[in-house]
């Protein structure tokens, strides 16, 4: 079960992800994040993975898809605080993080 909590700022939106991100969870996370992007049109979207306990390549698809979505609207995306298991997946996909 994965969850996402949003903290909006001035021109920014932080999405704090938690739980297990697989293909099942990614479907609802995608809808929730895209709805926030479309509603707030942030210049910078930060995806925070500090609360994520499991992630397979569906999480990579989730990141790439949100990057395309916000990019098409003129914004950009960053990834931060991935735990060890998530870092391994991000490294494999050549996704950089802070």
């Amino acid at each position: 079960m994965a969850k996402v909590t949003f903290i909006p700022g001035s021109g920014t939106l932080a999405a704090y992800l938690s739980g297990e991100i697989d293909h099942h969870a990614a479907q609802s996370l995608r809808k929730e994040i895209d709805a926030q992007i479309d509603d707030r049109l942030p210049e910078l979207l930060t995806l925070d993975f500090s609360g994520v306990t499991f992630m397979d390549s569906s999480g990579v698809g989730l990141i790439l898809g949100r990057g395309r979505h916000i990019g098409a609207l003129g914004g950009r995306l960053t990834v931060q605080n991935p735990p060890r298991a998530v870092r391994r997946m991000l490294d494999l996909a050549h996704i950089t993080y802070a």
């Binding site: 079960m1 297990e20 697989d22 293909h23 099942h24 990614a26 479907q27 995608r30 499991f54 992630m55 397979d56 390549s57 569906s58 990579v60 698809g61 989730l62 790439l64 898809g65 395309r68 060890r84 298991a85 997946m89 494999l92 996909a93």
Partner: protein, 144 residues
């Protein structure tokens, strides 16, 4: 190689069962006392294989997925994930990183690359129209 224990589970190819497959496998492997990274590797590889069945093998129906996990002497774990779906016409092509026949906007095309990276050995056999079997093998070295 002598088999020490085995479990076989068949479940519906619904995405909610991806988490069930990982949890069931983790419960079975507890007897090997795996490290957290070892267990994470195996759970990730199995999650990829099960997701492939749900997304690709059964694109327009819910079909059965069978997971068999076996423990052999020497700490070797072998897991097979079998479906009765559409099959893979070109296995070499399907295993190329970034290749996907799914939704290219949302699928990374990394499933097989992850399995190969996280396991010691990945074997795929498939017959178009009859299904696919993925065999994942990993030796869990004794704790230091």
């Amino acid at each position: 190689m002598k088999m020490l224990n085995q479990v076989k589970i068949t479940f519906a190819g619904r995405s909610v069962n991806e988490g069930f497959a990982r949890a069931a496998l983790a419960a079975f492997l507890v007897q090997l006392d795996p490290t957290v990274p070892q267990l994470a590797d195996i759970k990730t590889a199995v999650s990829e294989a099960v997701t492939n069945c749900i997304v690709h093998a059964y694109p327009d129906r819910i079909g059965p997925i069978t997971m068999t996990a076996a423990i052999y002497e020497g700490g070797v774990v072998r897991i097979t994930i079998t479906d009765r779906g559409v099959g893979i016409p070109d296995i070499a092509k399907a295993m190329e990183p970034m290749f996907t026949t799914g939704d290219a906007e949302e699928r990374a095309g990394l499933g097989f690359a992850v399995m190969q990276s996280f396991m010691d050995k990945v074997k795929v056999s498939s017959a178009p129209g009859r299904g696919t079997r993925v065999t994942l093998t990993k030796r869990l070295d004794a704790r230091a």
